[in-house]
Amino acid sequence: MKHVKSFILVCGGTGCRASESALIADDFRNMVRQLAIEDQTAVISVGCFGFCEKGPIVKIIPDNTFYTNVSRADVEEILKEHIIMGRPVHRLLYENPETHEKISDSKHMDFYRKQKRIALRNCGFIDPENINDYIARRGYEALGTVLSKYTPAETIDIIKRSGLRGRGGGGFPTGLKWEFASKSVSNEKYVVCNADEGDPGAFMDRSILEGDPNSIIEAMAICGYSIGASRGLVYIRAEYPLAVHRLEVAISQAREYGLLGDAIFGTDFSFDIEIRYGAGAFVCGEETALIHSMEGHRGEPTVKPPFPAVKGYMGKPTNVNNVETFANVPVIILNGPEWFSSIGTERSKGTKVFALAGKINNVGLIEVPMGTTLREVIYEIGGGIKNGKKFKAVQTGGPSGGCLTEEHLDIPIDFDNLLAAGSMMGSGGMIVMDEDDCMVSVAKFYLEFIVEESCGKCVPCRIGNRRLYEMLDKITKGKGTEEDLEYIENLSKVIKDTALCGLGQTSPNPVLSTLEHFRDEYLAHVRDKTCPAGKCRALMHYVIDPEKCVGCTACARACPAEAITGERKQKHEIDQNKCIKCGACYEKCKFSAINIA
């Protein structure tokens, strides 16, 4: 093969593909051929770059030019101007929203500057459908090292010393988990990869599988060797077709190389992986529910103990780890546990991937060292709050996490600090809210999700969360009382105390954390029957400012409820009993005479 000098890396993640990035890559390939520069230029579809807000992303190597919002119409220009003429296409470069300075190299962008990519190391870098790309990046070297140099116990010890903790939510020490499974005696054991990413807005596992599927295969094999399992299962959402496809390709390529199968590297270790599809139930992220689902049973949790390490899939010892956890494993083997444990905080080592969403400028997928503060994530990496609004809260840990406030912005993010602050790490969802968000409604929104997704097995989660939801609904409709708040608080605690699984035990977190940090807002709803954020429609009052009203009658004509009266050129008035709070008058008034109270 001719030694290639420039690379055009086109994002092949699900987000960018939704904006035609697959076609953009095809266009690049065709035009490279037409321009006869194949000897100097290679086009590669890579995994997600993370900066989804600005997708589709195209990156030119070796000068590291980072193009944003690329469309098919830009392909020709990029090739002719940048590749041939050596003139970067200025208009496609990222612009710093504050300084309006164009930034060419992604390393200098705030979004990337504070990131440290370990789990995402290969995403946006290699062709996930070509195992050679992975191998060239020291892929499967960790597996080879482990098989040729370490005993299973030594391997587990490395993982233990690295301080790696489960990235799926619980933060349980991974090495310890492996040790439990390794100590169970059985003729058959299983390694399960939990790729049933269920948190709304979270897509780190999907991105890793789409961008670097081989790292998961390699890690599962290392785990298999460590615990004495020869079979691996990936439980993945059927709604992730691209991730499934990439994983299938990777598995079949790994089999061709003999990196999966019998006698790997000529040793007596054999390992193979099967894919199992989940139908996208949130609760199947809970490991016992996941196992039951794989067994063909109803996806619902069972009481632990017995832990899967003792009695898991088909009653055999099973080790379940999440995708991101696995993604860290090969690097830890290659770089050593000391390297990994030098990153992060006292009790949370390494990095964590977060899905930034909500009212934030830079929506996307980021990876930062543990210990990075929420402020750094939101204001530096995330580029601050959209439209210059005021920050109000950040919700971490998915639907069962909690809402944190301004006062928490400087706490270093790690498992224990988030827990202490009343939230949790979860799988890494991070949703930012601004002054326009009503925290009662936010809590209600998350509960609605839980009510839908609860498996229904235990009473507190099945009925308790429904009742909590109804209580919050009542409050947002202006019918709540202060006693209701007490009841909500007590019921939330009971649910936490009595629910069967992790999902149920954490389900009231959004309610409890908002009640704690935004009690005034709840009180405004129940005492004053107002919604400070102006979100709860039942609590809104539209009033006409007599100073500003010119009597144009536009509002009265727009009102579908005939609630507005007033003669032409006279001050108008809204009958609050008739008003249905549709906001039509507010939209229509050209004189800003209608206020929301």
């Binding site: 590291n64 191998i135 080879g144 990196l259």
Partner: protein, 115 residues
Amino acid sequence: MRKLKSFEELLTLQKSLAGDMRIREMSNSPDDHIQVRVTFTSEEKIAEAAGIYREISEFAETGNMDIILTRYFRDGENNEKTVSIEVKHPGNEWKCYNIESADEALRILEKGGAA
């Protein structure tokens, strides 16, 4: 693809694949590597620059030299219609050399590479 029968076979394969990946990896930390730009100031010089670019790339390849090679159009910076190469070694500043031919460029690199 053929089955990798031992860890050594994987490492050998890895080596053979490293070249392609090398450029992508180097570009992650350009300042740690020798960077070479073929710069030109006029559209008339494109073909010439492209030729030099190609020769440097072949030279680097046969010499197994790790360089980050780019082309750069310095628009309106210089009225002279020239091709030059700019070289930067780790820790040093960029140095610019006006050149007449590819051979000249290679000689500079040879010296620079050795330096």
